[in-house]
């Protein structure tokens, strides 16, 4: 289990506080998402999983008054129940915050309470930050486990639950604005954290079914939520036909 947090100080540019992931795997998606804006990437190879949540606002501002953001990177295995819970809660909460367009900011509040400005400023200017590493991972975990105590809007929507057929499609695209695809998306995230192989993705530069399909066919099975500005999608998910052979250019 490893939890990492990237943010910036008033003047120091974006960097991980303390330890950093050995592989910046999420940057492979840079053509499909602007990490400055909300992004959710969940990958699982079965035994292990990794999560990247970006564009999470903080209450801090940089020297020119821009809202400083967080990027959260989590890595773990299906056997670690505690870290799976923390990862699931963080994805569900960030998805809920994004879907509710800034009216909740639940994840922001939890992270802000564990990472106040003074702490961030002192930590980010230290280049020999190794001694802080353990503390920071613990603080991230504490913030994420704190989410368990908070209500989650999506989870509380009572009448929505995926039927077996919907949950069974390996790859599909759905509208981020619609509650049902979000619910089925979270079901998949739960599956990925518990050993299912595949990906769950929300990338803010992907706006059409065709673009989503291209990404899905470039790697492991994937479920994708997009902002459906073109109104291509209804309230339900749109399954993609599985390709027998994955194309050469793989993302993951």
């Amino acid at each position: 289990m490893a939890f990492y947090l990237q943010t910036r100080g008033r003047t120091n540019d974006y960097a991980f506080l303390g330890d950093m992931p050995s592989d910046h795997w999420w940057t492979k998606y840079r053509e499909f998402t602007a990490f400055e804006d909300p992004t959710i990437l969940v990958h699982s190879d079965g035994p292990t999983w990794k999560v990247c949540l970006s564009g999470i606002p903080s209450s801090r501002k940089d020297r020119v008054g821009t809202t400083i953001r967080y990027t959260l990177v989590l890595e773990g295995s299906q056997s670690e129940e505690r870290s799976c819970s923390a990862a699931y809660e963080s994805v569900a909460t960030w998805l809920s915050d994004v879907a509710n367009a800034g009216s909740q900011n639940t994840l922001q509040r939890e992270l802000d309470s564990e990472f106040p400005e003074e702490f961030v400023e002192q930590t980010i200017i230290r280049h020999d930050s190794k001694p802080f590493g353990g503390d920071i991972a613990n603080k991230i975990e504490k913030a994420l486990l704190g989410l368990l105590k908070r209500p989650n809007a999506i989870e509380k929507e009572p009448s929505i639950s995926p039927n077996n057929e919907e949950a069974g499609h390996l790859s599909w695209v759905g509208a981020l604005e619609k509650p049902r695809p979000r619910k089925i998306f979270l079901k998949r995230v739960q599956g990925l954290l518990n050993g299912q192989v595949g990906r769950a993705l929300i990338m803010n530069l992907v706006e059409s079914v065709d673009e989503a399909r291209t990404i899905v066919y470039q790697g492991l099975p994937a479920v994708v939520l997009i902002e459906d500005s073109a109104k291509e999608l209804g309230p339900n998910i749109l399954p993609f036909i599985e390709k027998k052979k994955i194309q050469k250019q793989t993302i993951y």
Binding site: N12, D13, F35, V64, G65, L205, E207
Partner: protein, 377 residues
């Protein structure tokens, strides 16, 4: 094969200086410059288009609310390659301008996050391969430092030493490729408060020029020493146009290397519409640069006819980078002209006309005289 020239442009400046705003301004001002010509410029590819659209919306929203705050524009967290296409309206033809944006804090070795060396080295490779280097400069930091203790903080805030180091590295590479033209453009940004040609009240343009020259004297010397053939342009840009500094704030911060943090409050001038000025100089400079490069290749081709021992093609192939690109581009264009010249249908004639028009527009732009803000150094 697509006959498109990729024009790599390096950008080097500190974090939050406004690199993305400069790229947006180049697009906007160039669209105006190319109006009434057969060429157009547009973002190439959806990622570039969406990012520039978002940046524009953030800015417009801020101006609409009449409360411009540079902080309303998001900073950059990951490197991203912006591509702008100068398009003659013919498939597979045109000039792609590639500008690499990255977190500005990375230029400082001491502040660059661990683990990003590989990404930073890729940025440096891009800069080295670029025959044009853009240096965005925060004018407000230079101009509002009205006490010596603030002035001492200026090099730290603008990271002039780090910018100079990268410019020197770039110039050394240009020295190695001395048959290629090289162009350095110093672009002071946020200049709205210091010129009277875009709605401002104060003319402090000379003072700005003097301060830029002084603050970047080391950089200028390094580039001149390393690459004497390099052309240097000073091109101040109003990226917003309708704003003016109301007050500047220097906050003492003992943890910062320079000891001070700078910020400014802005007034939005009516009617609160963005009015970019000066960024067209970048395209004019690029056209001059391109025409010079084409002339260089033409000389090589002429030599090729005179001497069979070493052909221009072989020479060009030995060089990687801009010169080879120009050579291939010109040859592709020539082949295309030859191909469509023997076709008699209307579409082929139209295509040929577009190719010739593009050449003509670039030639015309290259002959344009820079505006009064611009200095050739």
């Amino acid at each position: 094969m697509a006959n498109q020239l990729l024009y790599k442009i390096g950008v080097v400046g500190p974090n939050r200086v406004g690199k993305t705003s400069l790229i947006t301004s180049i697009l906007k001002d160039t669209q105006t410059l190319l109006s009434n010509t057969s060429l157009s410029i547009h973002p190439e590819g959806k990622p570039t288009k969406l990012r520039l659209d978002r940046h524009r919306k953030e800015l417009e929203g801020s101006l609409y609310a009449k409360e411009f705050n540079p902080g309303g524009l998001k900073g950059t967290e990951e490197p991203f390659k912006f591509e702008l296409m100068i398009d003659p309206g013919m498939p597979e033809m045109g000039i792609r301008l590639g500008l690499l944006d990255y977190p500005g804090g990375w230029i400082d070795d001491e502040r660059r996050p661990e683990g990003r060396e590989k990404d930073w080295n890729e940025c440096l490779s891009w800069i080295n391969e670029s025959s044009v280097l853009l240096v965005p400069i925060d004018s407000a930091v230079l101009m509002e430092a009205d006490q010596s203790r603030y002035q001492r903080a200026v090099p730290w805030i603008l990271t002039t030493t780090e910018v100079e180091d990268i410019a020197r590295m770039w110039a050394k590479e240009r020295k190695q490729r001395n048959r290629e033209p090289a162009l350095l453009i110093l672009c002071p940004l946020k200049c709205e408060s210091y010129f009277t040609d875009n709605g401002g009240q104060r003319d402090e343009s000379k003072e700005l020029f003097d301060k830029v020259s002084k603050a970047y004297s080391g950089l200028l010397k390094s580039v001149r020493d390393e690459a004497s053939h390099c052309k240097i342009i000073y091109a101040p840009v109003d990226t917003i146009g309708c704003v003016e500094i109301l007050s500047a704030k220097w906050k003492e911060e003992i943890n910062l290397p320079g000891g001070f943090e700078f910020s400014a409050n802005y007034l939005v001038r009516n009617p609160g519409k963005q009015n970019v000025l000066g960024a067209d100089a970048v395209l004019i400079a690029l056209c001059k640069h391109l025409v010079e490069a084409k002339q260089g290749v033409a000389v090589e081709i002429a030599r090729e006819h005179q001497s069979k021992a070493v052909t221009a093609k072989e020479r060009a192939k030995r060089d990687e980078g801009f010169f080879t690109n120009i050579w291939l581009w010109l040859n592709g264009e020539r082949d295309l002209r030859n191909k469509i010249a023997v076709m008699l249908d209307k579409k082929s004639r139209d295509d040929l006309k577009r190719v010739l028009d593009m050449d003509e527009v670039i030639n015309q732009l290259s002959k344009k005289v820079y505006g009064s803000r611009v200095h050739e150094l």
